[in-house]
């Protein structure tokens, strides 16, 4: 006769085996590769772009000018209408300079974006070769037709819920890049035009009582 605890042990072992069988190793491996590649790309961007004197100087000037703009707007609000003209002219001049500096910063940032895209493409091609024909995950939805070209890339069969490594890697990179940039403080500040657009959108939402 078997010990009563034996049946209990069998259930626990078989459950552990089930969990291990369900564990998405390939999916998590893809996520791991995406994390390493994003950190490497951001590290490279730091040395090539973010740590350069030009980038730091431009960013510092933009921050200082934005603070000046905020201070001038407060002063303008407190002044008589007759005395506002000179301050308004000064404000317009500083805003014009900030728009130019924002454009320069965006041009420097585009170098980092291109470098990241090249690294991502190289790693994607390597992963596609390594996982050729292997569905790394199961999609909980059937993607739209133009997305299946990516999500079912390199896979055989008609089950469109099979997820290829290319699709999962692309999603991981999209998620990680923005968050890693923000976490490490590399994210570029919002440009003056974006801030003005945001303020206009907020005023619109308030006018429609959507806030």
């Amino acid at each position: 006769r078997r010990h009563p605890g034996f049946a209990c042990q069998c259930t626990i072992t078989s459950r552990l085996r089930e969990v291990r069988a369900m564990f998405p190793f390939h999916g998590l491996m893809t996520l791991g590769v995406a994390i390493v590649s994003t950190l490497t790309a951001e590290g490279l961007s730091f040395y090539v772009v973010y740590s350069t004197e030009n980038y730091r100087k431009t960013k510092k000037s933009i921050d200082a000018s934005n603070k000046k703009i905020g201070r001038l707007k407060e002063e303008l609000a407190a002044l008589d209408p007759a005395k506002r003209k000179i301050k308004q002219r000064e404000l317009s001049r500083i805003e014009h300079d900030v728009v130019k500096m924002d454009r320069d910063l965006a041009a420097m940032q585009s170098k980092s974006t291109m470098a990241v895209a090249v690294i991502a493409l190289v790693i994607l091609m390597t992963l596609s070769t390594a996982f050729s024909g292997v569905a790394v995950a199961k999609l909980p939805f059937v993607p739209l037709q133009f997305i299946t070209a990516l999500s079912h890339r390199g896979l055989e069969g008609d089950d469109m819920r099979d997820c290829s490594v290319a699709f999962l890697y692309m999603l991981c990179t999209m998620s990680l890049r923005g968050n890693v940039q923000k976490a490490l403080g590399f994210a570029p500040p919002k440009s003056l035009m974006q801030v003005h657009a945001a303020q206009a959108q907020a005023r619109f939402l308030k006018s429609k009582n959507l806030l």
């Binding site: 199961k138 999209m174 974006q194 801030v195 945001a198």
Partner: protein, 123 residues
């Protein structure tokens, strides 16, 4: 009062995380700080929604639609419940221009979490 005002002037600015998790009545939020808090709240909501959707399981377009609804409605509720801010400033931080990158990142986070947890628990 002069001692208190000197102390307030010398007190270092609190970080976004400090202001969010231990809010004080005296905290003043810049729009950029609020935008950062909204960004991380969106990522958290995306991650949790994705994992829960994979466990339930939620399938199909309904899961995507519900995610959008939750993302749009939960963030203002979370922010106004947690910290005391001006709604116009929150509207500016949550406007399309300020939060489009955060929304795309949170959608990608949600999809990755949903796909991996669905594969783990259902496939």
């Amino acid at each position: 009062t002069s001692v208190a005002s000197m102390a307030a002037a010398q007190a270092p600015d609190r970080t976004v995380m400090q202001k969010f998790f231990s809010p004080l009545v005296t905290d003043k939020w810049q729009t950029a700080e609020l935008s950062e808090a909204v960004h991380w709240s969106r990522q958290f909501v995306g991650l949790v929604t994705g994992v829960v959707w994979g466990i339930i399981p939620m399938r199909g377009t309904l899961g995507l639609v519900l995610f959008f609804v939750i993302n749009v409605s939960a963030i203002p509720m979370m922010m106004s419940a947690k910290i005391n801010i001006d709604m116009e400033q929150l509207g500016e931080a949550m406007s399309f221009e300020m939060s489009k990158e955060g929304f795309i990142a949170s959608f990608a986070t949600f999809l990755v979490a949903w796909i991996l947890s669905y594969t783990a628990f259902q496939a």
